[in-house]
Subunit: 191 residues, 2 copies
DNA sequence: ACCTGAACACCGTTCAAGT
DNA sequence: ACCTGAACACCGTTCAAGT
Protein backbone atom coordinates (compact mmCIF):
# COMPACT_ATOMS: atom_id res chain seq x y z
CA UNK A 1 0.00 0.00 0.00
CA UNK A 2 1.61 3.31 -1.03
CA UNK A 3 2.03 6.17 1.44
CA UNK A 4 2.48 9.86 0.86
CA UNK A 5 5.63 11.62 2.08
CA UNK A 6 4.94 13.76 5.13
CA UNK A 7 8.10 15.82 4.65
CA UNK A 8 10.94 16.41 2.18
CA UNK A 9 14.70 16.71 2.06
CA UNK A 10 14.41 20.49 1.83
CA UNK A 11 12.08 20.62 4.85
CA UNK A 12 14.46 18.53 6.89
CA UNK A 13 17.51 20.59 5.97
CA UNK A 14 15.64 23.82 6.73
CA UNK A 15 14.58 22.47 10.12
CA UNK A 16 18.12 21.39 10.92
CA UNK A 17 19.50 24.79 9.94
CA UNK A 18 16.94 26.57 12.07
CA UNK A 19 17.83 24.48 15.10
CA UNK A 20 21.53 24.98 14.37
CA UNK A 21 21.19 28.76 14.36
CA UNK A 22 18.92 28.84 17.40
CA UNK A 23 20.64 26.34 19.67
CA UNK A 24 23.93 25.23 18.18
CA UNK A 25 25.20 22.11 16.44
CA UNK A 26 24.87 19.84 19.47
CA UNK A 27 21.15 20.58 19.55
CA UNK A 28 20.73 19.31 16.00
CA UNK A 29 19.72 15.82 17.03
CA UNK A 30 17.81 13.49 14.77
CA UNK A 31 14.92 13.58 17.22
CA UNK A 32 14.79 17.37 17.37
CA UNK A 33 14.90 17.69 13.60
CA UNK A 34 12.27 14.99 13.17
CA UNK A 35 9.98 16.62 15.71
CA UNK A 36 10.28 19.94 13.89
CA UNK A 37 9.11 18.45 10.61
CA UNK A 38 6.38 16.40 12.29
CA UNK A 39 7.84 12.94 12.00
CA UNK A 40 9.78 10.43 14.12
CA UNK A 41 13.55 10.13 14.06
CA UNK A 42 13.79 6.80 12.19
CA UNK A 43 11.96 8.33 9.21
CA UNK A 44 14.90 10.64 8.54
CA UNK A 45 17.00 7.62 7.60
CA UNK A 46 14.84 7.16 4.49
CA UNK A 47 16.34 10.39 3.15
CA UNK A 48 19.76 10.78 4.80
CA UNK A 49 22.17 7.99 5.41
CA UNK A 50 23.04 9.19 8.90
CA UNK A 51 23.38 12.34 10.98
CA UNK A 52 26.66 13.40 9.40
CA UNK A 53 25.09 13.20 5.93
CA UNK A 54 22.33 15.50 7.16
CA UNK A 55 24.86 17.94 8.62
CA UNK A 56 26.75 17.91 5.33
CA UNK A 57 23.51 18.73 3.51
CA UNK A 58 23.04 21.66 5.90
CA UNK A 59 26.55 22.87 5.03
CA UNK A 60 25.78 22.60 1.31
CA UNK A 61 22.58 24.58 1.84
CA UNK A 62 24.53 27.29 3.68
CA UNK A 63 27.18 27.44 0.96
CA UNK A 64 24.46 27.90 -1.64
CA UNK A 65 22.85 30.70 0.31
CA UNK A 66 26.19 32.43 0.72
CA UNK A 67 26.88 32.04 -3.00
CA UNK A 68 23.52 33.63 -3.80
CA UNK A 69 24.32 36.58 -1.51
CA UNK A 70 27.69 37.08 -3.19
CA UNK A 71 26.09 36.93 -6.65
CA UNK A 72 23.55 39.56 -5.55
CA UNK A 73 26.15 42.01 -4.24
CA UNK A 74 26.12 45.35 -6.12
CA UNK A 75 28.50 45.69 -9.08
CA UNK A 76 29.56 48.14 -11.72
CA UNK A 77 31.86 50.48 -9.75
CA UNK A 78 35.02 48.86 -11.05
CA UNK A 79 36.66 45.62 -9.87
CA UNK A 80 38.25 47.01 -6.69
CA UNK A 81 34.95 48.39 -5.43
CA UNK A 82 33.01 45.36 -6.60
CA UNK A 83 35.30 43.18 -4.52
CA UNK A 84 34.76 45.43 -1.51
CA UNK A 85 31.01 45.03 -1.95
CA UNK A 86 31.30 41.28 -2.26
CA UNK A 87 33.45 41.13 0.88
CA UNK A 88 30.88 43.20 2.75
CA UNK A 89 28.10 40.90 1.56
CA UNK A 90 30.09 37.89 2.73
CA UNK A 91 30.66 39.36 6.17
CA UNK A 92 27.06 40.48 6.51
CA UNK A 93 25.77 37.00 5.71
CA UNK A 94 28.16 35.44 8.22
CA UNK A 95 26.87 37.82 10.88
CA UNK A 96 23.29 36.89 10.07
CA UNK A 97 23.99 33.14 10.14
CA UNK A 98 27.01 32.71 12.40
CA UNK A 99 26.57 29.05 13.27
CA UNK A 100 25.89 28.11 9.68
CA UNK A 101 29.05 29.99 8.84
CA UNK A 102 30.98 28.04 11.45
CA UNK A 103 29.92 24.85 9.69
CA UNK A 104 31.45 25.85 6.34
CA UNK A 105 35.05 25.35 7.35
CA UNK A 106 34.54 22.85 10.12
CA UNK A 107 36.10 19.42 10.06
CA UNK A 108 33.13 17.31 8.92
CA UNK A 109 34.89 14.00 9.24
CA UNK A 110 36.30 12.79 5.93
CA UNK A 111 36.37 15.19 3.00
CA UNK A 112 32.83 15.29 1.69
CA UNK A 113 32.64 15.75 -2.08
CA UNK A 114 29.26 17.52 -1.97
CA UNK A 115 30.50 20.25 0.36
CA UNK A 116 33.69 20.65 -1.69
CA UNK A 117 31.61 21.29 -4.81
CA UNK A 118 29.30 23.68 -3.01
CA UNK A 119 32.28 25.58 -1.62
CA UNK A 120 33.80 25.91 -5.08
CA UNK A 121 30.49 27.13 -6.55
CA UNK A 122 29.99 29.70 -3.81
CA UNK A 123 33.37 31.28 -4.64
CA UNK A 124 32.55 31.71 -8.34
CA UNK A 125 31.18 35.27 -8.16
CA UNK A 126 34.42 36.49 -6.58
CA UNK A 127 36.57 34.43 -8.91
CA UNK A 128 34.84 35.99 -11.91
CA UNK A 129 35.43 39.57 -10.70
CA UNK A 130 39.10 38.85 -10.11
CA UNK A 131 39.32 36.99 -13.43
CA UNK A 132 37.87 39.92 -15.37
CA UNK A 133 40.33 42.19 -13.60
CA UNK A 134 43.61 40.32 -13.68
CA UNK A 135 43.00 37.78 -16.41
CA UNK A 136 41.36 34.39 -16.08
CA UNK A 137 44.60 32.44 -15.95
CA UNK A 138 46.03 34.24 -12.93
CA UNK A 139 42.84 34.63 -10.88
CA UNK A 140 43.08 31.65 -8.53
CA UNK A 141 45.98 32.73 -6.31
CA UNK A 142 44.85 36.34 -5.68
CA UNK A 143 41.29 35.14 -5.11
CA UNK A 144 42.60 32.75 -2.51
CA UNK A 145 44.45 35.55 -0.83
CA UNK A 146 41.33 37.71 -0.67
CA UNK A 147 39.10 34.89 0.50
CA UNK A 148 41.68 33.81 3.09
CA UNK A 149 41.69 37.27 4.62
CA UNK A 150 37.92 37.62 4.52
CA UNK A 151 37.29 34.18 6.00
CA UNK A 152 40.01 34.63 8.61
CA UNK A 153 38.73 37.99 9.75
CA UNK A 154 35.10 36.91 9.94
CA UNK A 155 35.95 33.62 11.60
CA UNK A 156 38.06 35.27 14.30
CA UNK A 157 35.47 37.94 14.80
CA UNK A 158 32.72 35.36 15.31
CA UNK A 159 34.95 33.35 17.64
CA UNK A 160 35.27 36.44 19.81
CA UNK A 161 38.96 36.97 19.09
CA UNK A 162 38.46 40.69 18.50
CA UNK A 163 36.49 41.34 21.65
CA UNK A 164 39.23 43.30 23.40
CA UNK A 165 39.39 46.90 22.25
CA UNK A 166 39.72 48.51 18.86
CA UNK A 167 37.14 49.43 16.26
CA UNK A 168 36.39 46.16 14.49
CA UNK A 169 34.59 47.78 11.56
CA UNK A 170 37.53 50.13 10.98
CA UNK A 171 39.93 47.17 11.09
CA UNK A 172 37.76 45.39 8.54
CA UNK A 173 37.78 48.37 6.20
CA UNK A 174 41.56 48.93 6.50
CA UNK A 175 42.20 45.24 6.01
CA UNK A 176 40.01 44.97 2.92
CA UNK A 177 41.57 48.08 1.45
CA UNK A 178 45.04 46.69 2.05
CA UNK A 179 44.21 43.34 0.49
CA UNK A 180 42.45 44.86 -2.51
CA UNK A 181 45.42 47.21 -2.89
CA UNK A 182 47.69 44.17 -2.99
CA UNK A 183 45.57 42.70 -5.76
CA UNK A 184 46.04 45.90 -7.75
CA UNK A 185 49.77 45.34 -7.54
CA UNK A 186 49.43 41.63 -8.13
CA UNK A 187 52.06 39.81 -10.11
CA UNK A 188 51.60 36.06 -10.35
CA UNK A 189 54.24 34.06 -8.52
CA UNK A 190 56.65 32.14 -10.75
CA UNK A 191 55.46 28.57 -11.38
CA UNK B 1 41.16 7.25 54.66
CA UNK B 2 43.18 9.33 52.20
CA UNK B 3 43.90 8.09 48.67
CA UNK B 4 46.62 9.03 46.23
CA UNK B 5 45.74 10.57 42.86
CA UNK B 6 46.18 8.11 40.01
CA UNK B 7 46.33 10.86 37.38
CA UNK B 8 46.51 14.62 36.98
CA UNK B 9 44.89 17.45 35.07
CA UNK B 10 47.90 17.59 32.74
CA UNK B 11 47.72 13.83 32.08
CA UNK B 12 44.04 14.05 31.27
CA UNK B 13 44.45 17.01 28.92
CA UNK B 14 47.35 15.29 27.16
CA UNK B 15 45.30 12.12 26.73
CA UNK B 16 42.37 14.09 25.36
CA UNK B 17 44.60 15.94 22.91
CA UNK B 18 46.17 12.71 21.71
CA UNK B 19 42.76 11.18 21.04
CA UNK B 20 41.63 14.39 19.36
CA UNK B 21 44.54 14.32 16.93
CA UNK B 22 44.30 10.61 16.28
CA UNK B 23 40.55 10.16 15.92
CA UNK B 24 38.79 13.52 15.96
CA UNK B 25 36.73 15.48 18.45
CA UNK B 26 33.80 13.05 18.52
CA UNK B 27 36.16 10.34 19.72
CA UNK B 28 37.16 12.40 22.75
CA UNK B 29 34.63 10.77 25.05
CA UNK B 30 34.96 10.81 28.80
CA UNK B 31 35.32 7.05 28.76
CA UNK B 32 38.05 7.05 26.10
CA UNK B 33 40.02 9.73 27.93
CA UNK B 34 39.59 7.97 31.26
CA UNK B 35 40.71 4.64 29.82
CA UNK B 36 43.82 6.28 28.40
CA UNK B 37 44.88 7.62 31.80
CA UNK B 38 43.96 4.36 33.56
CA UNK B 39 40.87 5.46 35.40
CA UNK B 40 37.07 5.29 35.06
CA UNK B 41 34.99 8.04 33.51
CA UNK B 42 33.36 9.32 36.73
CA UNK B 43 36.79 10.13 38.16
CA UNK B 44 37.30 12.83 35.56
CA UNK B 45 34.52 14.85 37.17
CA UNK B 46 36.74 15.39 40.22
CA UNK B 47 38.98 17.57 38.04
CA UNK B 48 36.76 18.92 35.25
CA UNK B 49 33.23 20.11 35.68
CA UNK B 50 32.03 18.41 32.52
CA UNK B 51 33.13 17.40 29.04
CA UNK B 52 33.02 20.91 27.65
CA UNK B 53 35.31 22.14 30.44
CA UNK B 54 37.77 19.42 29.49
CA UNK B 55 37.57 20.38 25.81
CA UNK B 56 38.19 24.01 26.75
CA UNK B 57 41.25 22.94 28.70
CA UNK B 58 42.48 21.13 25.61
CA UNK B 59 42.02 24.32 23.59
CA UNK B 60 43.97 26.30 26.20
CA UNK B 61 46.75 23.72 26.05
CA UNK B 62 46.87 24.00 22.26
CA UNK B 63 46.96 27.80 22.40
CA UNK B 64 49.88 27.64 24.80
CA UNK B 65 51.79 25.26 22.57
CA UNK B 66 51.16 27.48 19.56
CA UNK B 67 52.31 30.53 21.53
CA UNK B 68 55.52 28.73 22.48
CA UNK B 69 56.19 27.87 18.82
CA UNK B 70 55.66 31.49 17.82
CA UNK B 71 57.98 32.69 20.57
CA UNK B 72 60.64 30.23 19.37
CA UNK B 73 60.51 31.32 15.73
CA UNK B 74 63.82 32.75 14.49
CA UNK B 75 64.29 36.52 14.77
CA UNK B 76 66.78 39.23 14.01
CA UNK B 77 66.42 39.64 10.26
CA UNK B 78 64.28 42.74 10.56
CA UNK B 79 60.57 42.97 11.36
CA UNK B 80 59.28 42.00 7.90
CA UNK B 81 61.33 38.82 7.82
CA UNK B 82 60.65 38.07 11.47
CA UNK B 83 56.92 38.20 10.73
CA UNK B 84 57.39 35.84 7.79
CA UNK B 85 59.20 33.40 10.10
CA UNK B 86 56.46 33.66 12.70
CA UNK B 87 53.80 33.07 10.05
CA UNK B 88 55.70 30.01 8.81
CA UNK B 89 55.97 28.69 12.38
CA UNK B 90 52.23 29.20 12.86
CA UNK B 91 51.38 27.32 9.67
CA UNK B 92 53.83 24.53 10.44
CA UNK B 93 52.34 23.99 13.87
CA UNK B 94 48.81 23.91 12.43
CA UNK B 95 49.92 21.26 9.94
CA UNK B 96 51.41 19.19 12.73
CA UNK B 97 48.32 19.47 14.94
CA UNK B 98 45.42 20.08 12.54
CA UNK B 99 42.58 18.99 14.78
CA UNK B 100 43.93 20.92 17.75
CA UNK B 101 44.12 23.88 15.41
CA UNK B 102 40.50 23.39 14.42
CA UNK B 103 39.55 23.67 18.07
CA UNK B 104 41.11 27.11 18.50
CA UNK B 105 38.47 29.02 16.59
CA UNK B 106 35.59 26.61 17.02
CA UNK B 107 32.36 27.61 18.67
CA UNK B 108 32.85 26.14 22.14
CA UNK B 109 29.40 27.04 23.39
CA UNK B 110 29.39 30.28 25.35
CA UNK B 111 32.49 32.46 25.29
CA UNK B 112 34.95 30.80 27.64
CA UNK B 113 37.16 33.25 29.49
CA UNK B 114 40.08 30.82 29.82
CA UNK B 115 40.34 30.26 26.08
CA UNK B 116 40.01 33.99 25.42
CA UNK B 117 42.99 34.66 27.70
CA UNK B 118 45.02 31.86 26.15
CA UNK B 119 44.25 33.15 22.68
CA UNK B 120 45.38 36.65 23.61
CA UNK B 121 48.60 35.35 25.17
CA UNK B 122 49.43 33.21 22.14
CA UNK B 123 49.30 36.31 19.90
CA UNK B 124 51.77 38.27 22.02
CA UNK B 125 54.96 37.32 20.13
CA UNK B 126 53.48 38.64 16.89
CA UNK B 127 52.02 41.69 18.57
CA UNK B 128 55.44 42.59 19.96
CA UNK B 129 57.18 42.36 16.58
CA UNK B 130 54.54 44.58 14.99
CA UNK B 131 54.64 46.92 17.98
CA UNK B 132 58.42 47.35 17.75
CA UNK B 133 58.02 48.01 14.05
CA UNK B 134 55.07 50.37 13.79
CA UNK B 135 54.79 51.68 17.32
CA UNK B 136 53.01 50.10 20.25
CA UNK B 137 49.92 52.25 19.97
CA UNK B 138 49.07 51.30 16.40
CA UNK B 139 49.98 47.62 16.51
CA UNK B 140 46.58 46.05 17.16
CA UNK B 141 44.88 46.67 13.82
CA UNK B 142 47.76 45.61 11.54
CA UNK B 143 48.39 42.57 13.74
CA UNK B 144 44.77 41.61 13.33
CA UNK B 145 45.09 41.93 9.58
CA UNK B 146 48.14 39.67 9.51
CA UNK B 147 46.64 37.11 11.86
CA UNK B 148 43.34 37.15 9.95
CA UNK B 149 45.12 36.27 6.73
CA UNK B 150 47.30 33.63 8.35
CA UNK B 151 44.41 32.01 10.18
CA UNK B 152 42.14 32.20 7.14
CA UNK B 153 44.68 30.66 4.82
CA UNK B 154 45.59 27.84 7.19
CA UNK B 155 42.01 27.15 8.12
CA UNK B 156 40.86 26.92 4.50
CA UNK B 157 43.86 24.84 3.62
CA UNK B 158 43.12 22.35 6.41
CA UNK B 159 39.45 22.28 5.45
CA UNK B 160 40.50 21.17 1.98
CA UNK B 161 39.37 24.37 0.27
CA UNK B 162 42.61 24.60 -1.73
CA UNK B 163 42.57 21.05 -2.98
CA UNK B 164 41.79 21.93 -6.59
CA UNK B 165 44.85 23.02 -8.50
CA UNK B 166 47.49 25.65 -7.91
CA UNK B 167 50.66 25.59 -5.88
CA UNK B 168 49.50 26.09 -2.29
CA UNK B 169 52.98 26.87 -0.92
CA UNK B 170 53.50 29.51 -3.62
CA UNK B 171 50.11 31.03 -2.80
CA UNK B 172 51.10 31.13 0.86
CA UNK B 173 54.37 32.89 0.09
CA UNK B 174 52.77 35.44 -2.25
CA UNK B 175 50.00 36.08 0.24
CA UNK B 176 52.34 36.58 3.18
CA UNK B 177 54.54 38.88 1.10
CA UNK B 178 51.52 40.92 0.07
CA UNK B 179 50.23 41.22 3.64
CA UNK B 180 53.65 42.08 5.08
CA UNK B 181 54.04 44.60 2.26
CA UNK B 182 50.76 46.18 3.33
CA UNK B 183 52.08 46.47 6.87
CA UNK B 184 55.12 48.31 5.54
CA UNK B 185 52.76 50.87 4.05
CA UNK B 186 50.50 50.85 7.07
CA UNK B 187 48.84 54.04 8.16
CA UNK B 188 46.44 53.71 11.07
CA UNK B 189 42.82 54.27 10.11
CA UNK B 190 41.28 57.47 11.50
CA UNK B 191 39.58 56.85 14.85
C1' DA C 1 40.80 12.19 49.36
C1' DC C 2 40.09 9.75 45.49
C1' DC C 3 38.01 5.94 42.90
C1' DT C 4 34.21 2.95 41.33
C1' DG C 5 29.83 0.30 39.93
C1' DA C 6 25.31 1.07 39.21
C1' DA C 7 21.87 3.83 37.57
C1' DC C 8 19.39 7.42 34.65
C1' DA C 9 18.42 10.23 30.74
C1' DC C 10 19.42 10.86 26.15
C1' DC C 11 21.15 10.01 21.50
C1' DG C 12 22.12 7.46 16.91
C1' DT C 13 20.69 3.68 14.47
C1' DT C 14 18.27 -0.69 12.98
C1' DC C 15 14.38 -3.32 11.85
C1' DA C 16 10.20 -5.82 11.91
C1' DA C 17 5.56 -4.53 11.72
C1' DG C 18 1.99 -1.40 10.41
C1' DT C 19 -0.90 1.30 6.72
C1' DA D 1 6.20 3.64 -0.22
C1' DC D 2 6.59 5.65 3.87
C1' DC D 3 6.07 5.74 8.89
C1' DT D 4 6.55 3.93 13.61
C1' DG D 5 7.47 1.58 18.27
C1' DA D 6 10.63 -1.15 20.27
C1' DA D 7 15.11 -2.37 20.92
C1' DC D 8 20.34 -1.98 21.21
C1' DA D 9 24.73 0.16 21.91
C1' DC D 10 26.84 4.06 23.57
C1' DC D 11 27.55 8.45 25.90
C1' DG D 12 27.39 12.18 29.73
C1' DT D 13 26.54 12.61 34.35
C1' DT D 14 25.28 11.68 39.33
C1' DC D 15 25.88 9.46 43.60
C1' DA D 16 26.12 6.25 47.25
C1' DA D 17 29.47 3.06 48.66
C1' DG D 18 34.19 1.54 48.91
C1' DT D 19 39.32 2.13 50.45
Amino acid sequence: VPANPRTSNADIVAAARAILEEHGLDAVTMQAVAARVGVRAPSLYKRFEDRSALISAVAVDAFEELGRELARAPRGEGPANDLRRAADAYRAWAHRAPRSYGLLFADLGAGVAATDDARARSAEPVLSIVGDWLGIGSAIQPTRMLVAFVHGFVSMELAGAFRLGGDVDAAWRSGIDAVVGSLERWRPAPG
